[in-house]
């Protein structure tokens, strides 16, 4: 529909450029210039003011450790991403290198941690048995009509193997790499992709990505970089997983509202769900902070509903020593533990073991109003006759959700998922508000963004902060690319 204007016609139509000029100028000044400046200053020791000394890649070495490992990892990752979905020989070879090579390299890097203390030679048989077991499990479970089973198996064997190795006393990075490697072998020795088992290729790619992830993790632990930065990425990973679960209530609520028979209540619930949104996020955050005080509403509710008793019992029986002193807890009877729980006032935001759980519970029941409204908009197009037909076929509530409702909102769910991961990676404002620039008790909540903020505005290492910012930027870029390649969103 748009009007084509050739180079010759520009002489008459040039004023049209003024429509876009102000926007472009603003963007150039306040987005591109700072970005370029960040790249430039990341190689300086800079305090944001008069001290500016060229130091080469020292800032990056300080945060990442030995550069050579990282360069190799990144190059291989890029080759893999660009070739992953092509049917050429080269693409297949890179997939092999990445899926099995990364965990292998990983194991070599880590081999100095093996054998761990206290592991007898006889016990070393167990990894071997696990290996065979996992592989057989894969072969046995993959058959023609198991489309999603493969992914499930992949995850279960991966987690199962890793926890087994960790229980044997292996270092956690080593255990996870070993597990990745073994499950990887299982996946790669399966038959080539066929019409009947379309998930196999996807599994191979996810195995390759898992290999890359393991490699990055072990490099982070062993290449000698900034410890706070990598523990921060650990916190981010936990938060991303938690946020995935937090998407569920919005979806379920939207589906339930949509399934209501009465039009009037449907409308009123919709209106009512907008009301809590008027509390500005900042105020909501501070009110939740008030809930989490040791004499606050959160502890009160936990005590009244008996959840506190369960937590105390669990804590005492597993000997974690989070709520109760370990030695004391071992001597207490169940009724004594319950008595202690009924008067308990744990400080959720002051205890290093409790901050992360508290931060995850934050904002229960996690229903995003905009999210619910968007999902509802997607669901509205379902005709009631579809439900009636499903009823006649005897489809249950869950079946209806999987076959009718989920496909309609899948696009939105995927977009939200990606935005959520990218948003969590950048998140540090909330942590700053709640815990200050120190990152909470023992710096437990020191996320990468906060580390950047702290380096620049508290400690005066602006150049180093730029380097951390660039690492974050790069990570987000890679995630976006992976998303574009592998998580296709059909419009």
């Amino acid at each position: 529909m748009a009007k084509d204007i050739s180079l010759k016609q520009v002489a008459t139509y040039w004023p049209l450029y003024f429509f876009v000029l102000p926007s472009a100028l603003l963007v150039a000044t306040f987005s591109y210039f700072p970005a370029a400046s960040a790249i430039y200053h990341s190689v300086f020791r800079w305090n944001g003011n008069y001290i500016k000394i060229f130091i080469g890649t020292s800032n990056f070495q300080k945060s990442l450790g030995t550069p050579a490992y990282w360069v190799i990892t990144l190059l291989l990752t890029m080759i893999m991403i660009y070739n992953s979905q092509k049917p050429t020989l080269f693409a297949k070879v890179t997939k092999w290198i990445c899926g099995l090579g990364f965990p292998l390299v990983n194991l070599v890097v880590l081999s100095r941690l093996y054998p761990p203390t206290g592991l007898t030679p006889a016990a070393m048989l167990i990894p071997g048995i696990t290996w065979v077991g996992l592989w057989l499990f894969f072969r046995w479970r993959m058959d023609a009509d198991s489309e999603y089973k493969g992914v499930l198996n992949f995850t279960i064997s991966f987690l199962g193997g890793a926890s087994l190795f960790m229980a044997l006393g292996l270092n956690d990075v080593l255990a996870w790499s070993l597990s990745t490697f073994m499950v990887g072998l299982g996946v790669w020795f399966l038959p080539p992709r066929t019409e009947k088992v379309p998930m196999l290729d996807g599994m191979r790619i996810s195995q390759a990505l898992a290999g890359v992830g393991m490699m990055v993790w072990s490099l982070a632990q062993n290449a000698g970089g900034e410890v706070a930065l990598w523990s921060g990425f650990g916190v981010i990973a936990a938060l991303v997983l938690a946020n995935l679960l937090k998407m569920v209530p919005s979806i379920v609520t939207a589906v339930v509202i949509n399934r209501l028979k009465s039009e009037a209540s449907n409308y009123w619930y919709r209106v009512l769900f907008v009301v809590p949104m008027i509390i500005p996020g900042m105020v909501g955050l501070l009110i939740w902070k008030f809930f989490f005080e040791s004499t606050g509403l959160f502890n009160l509710i936990l005590r009244e509903t008996g959840i506190m008793h369960l937590l105390y019992l669990f804590d005492a029986k597993t000997g974690n020593g989070v709520f109760l002193d370990k030695a004391q807890a071992a001597a207490m009877s169940t009724s004594e533990i319950f008595a202690a729980a009924s008067e308990a006032t744990p400080a959720w935001l002051g205890n290093p073991d409790l901050v992360l759980p508290a931060f995850i519970v934050w904002g229960f029941p996690w229903v995003g109003v905009v999210g619910v409204l968007i999902y509802l908009a997607g669901l509205q197009s379902i005709d009631s006759s579809v439900y009636e037909a499903a009823d006649l076929d005897g489809v249950g509530a869950v079946g209806k959700f999987l076959n009718i409702e989920l496909p309609l909102i899948l696009t939105q769910v995927r977009i939200n998922l990606v935005l959520l991961i990218i948003g969590t990676l950048q998140m540090y404002g909330q942590v700053l508000i709640l815990f200050g620039d120190g990152g909470g008790p023992n710096g437990r909540m020191m996320v990468p963004g906060l580390l950047m903020y702290r380096s620049a505005f508290v400690e005066g290492y602006a150049g180093y902060a730029c380097a951390i910012g660039l690492i974050l930027f790069f990570l987000i870029l890679v995630l976006t690319e992976i998303n574009n390649r592998f998580v296709r969103v059909e419009k």
């Binding site: 139509y13 963007v27 339930v256 209501l260 619930y269 919709r270 500005p280 105020v283 540090y428």
Partner: protein, 276 residues
């Protein structure tokens, strides 16, 4: 008969589920309103129940504390949202209706920006604002907000404008309307619900923004609401009644906006204004 009872039971369960979620979502609102009317003694005695007499004096006390912040924030947010509208409408019109030389380049110029996380820019941005001597002024907030806000809006508005029938523009052109007039007489009146949705979402984001005002603003009288509230919350001895009253006052502008634009907002969401 039993079939019918089963159906009714299923409906009741659905209502119960929604009411449970709703009650949890309303809990912060309830706590805020209830505590905002308590004096110290009432708060200690029963913090979470409605108590009488309801101390309205908390609100006058809170008003003295937060009114300056509220006006600062309203000024910054409203100006930024309006400026963003002007810029993004024009730019979106340019991209939707014309294929000028350099059109592709300009489009990708904005597209790449969507990938750039703000987090990496923060330090140099601060230095830039400092060198432009914009620190401790509202202009600093506005330019950054407008720059960040317009990108998403250009994307969504471009799609929206492309779907407006071509005949309208042709008719206007025959009558001698310049492109500028076309924007304000054709596009603007038609895009009410989309603009209000985009505007509200941007407004909510700006209302809660914390980091930028924190590093840019110096004087206490110039702070925005988010920074001011956190500062109030951080004081060691807290008067919870007045603090919650302050929170309530901070929410009222949002209530007003929703009252006036709610219909448009829900319609805009349903029409896919934010479907990305």
């Amino acid at each position: 008969m039993s079939m019918r009872r089963k159906e009714i039971l299923a409906e009741v369960w659905k209502h119960l589920f929604i009411l449970f979620i709703l009650s949890m979502a309303f809990l912060p609102l309830y706590v805020m309103l209830v505590i905002s009317g308590k004096d110290g003694a009432q708060f200690v005695a029963s913090p979470f129940k409605l108590t009488f007499p309801f101390h309205w004096s908390n609100y006058t006390q809170a008003w003295d504390m937060v009114s300056a912040y509220v006006f600062n924030t309203i000024f910054v947010c409203v100006t930024s949202v309006l400026l963003t509208f002007v810029l993004s409408l024009n730019a979106a019109f340019f991209f939707a209706r014309y294929r000028m030389p350099g059109h592709k380049f300009l489009w990708y110029f904005f597209l790449v920006l969507m990938l750039m996380p703000g987090v990496a820019n923060l330090v140099p941005l601060f230095m830039l604002l400092k060198n432009m001597s914009l620190l401790n002024t509202f202009y600093a907030l506005m330019v950054v907000y407008v720059t960040g806000g317009q990108v998403v809006q250009i994307f969504i508005l471009r799609n929206f404008i492309e779907e407006i029938p071509q005949d309208l523009f042709d008719a206007a052109e025959v009558d001698g309307a310049s492109p500028f007039k076309q924007v304000y007489h054709i596009v603007l009146p038609m895009s009410g619900s989309v603009l209000s949705t985009l505007g509200i979402l941007q407004f909510i984001g700006l209302w809660n923004d914390y980091i930028l005002p924190l590093i840019v603003m110096r004087d206490d009288s110039m702070l925005t609401l988010a920074v001011g509230l956190v500062r109030m919350d951080g004081e060691y001895v807290k008067d919870w009644g007045a603090l919650m009253a302050g929170f309530t006052i901070a929410s009222i502008p949002m209530v007003l906006i929703f009252l006036f634009t709610m219909r448009l907002f829900v319609k805009g969401l349903a029409a896919g204004a934010v479907k990305g």
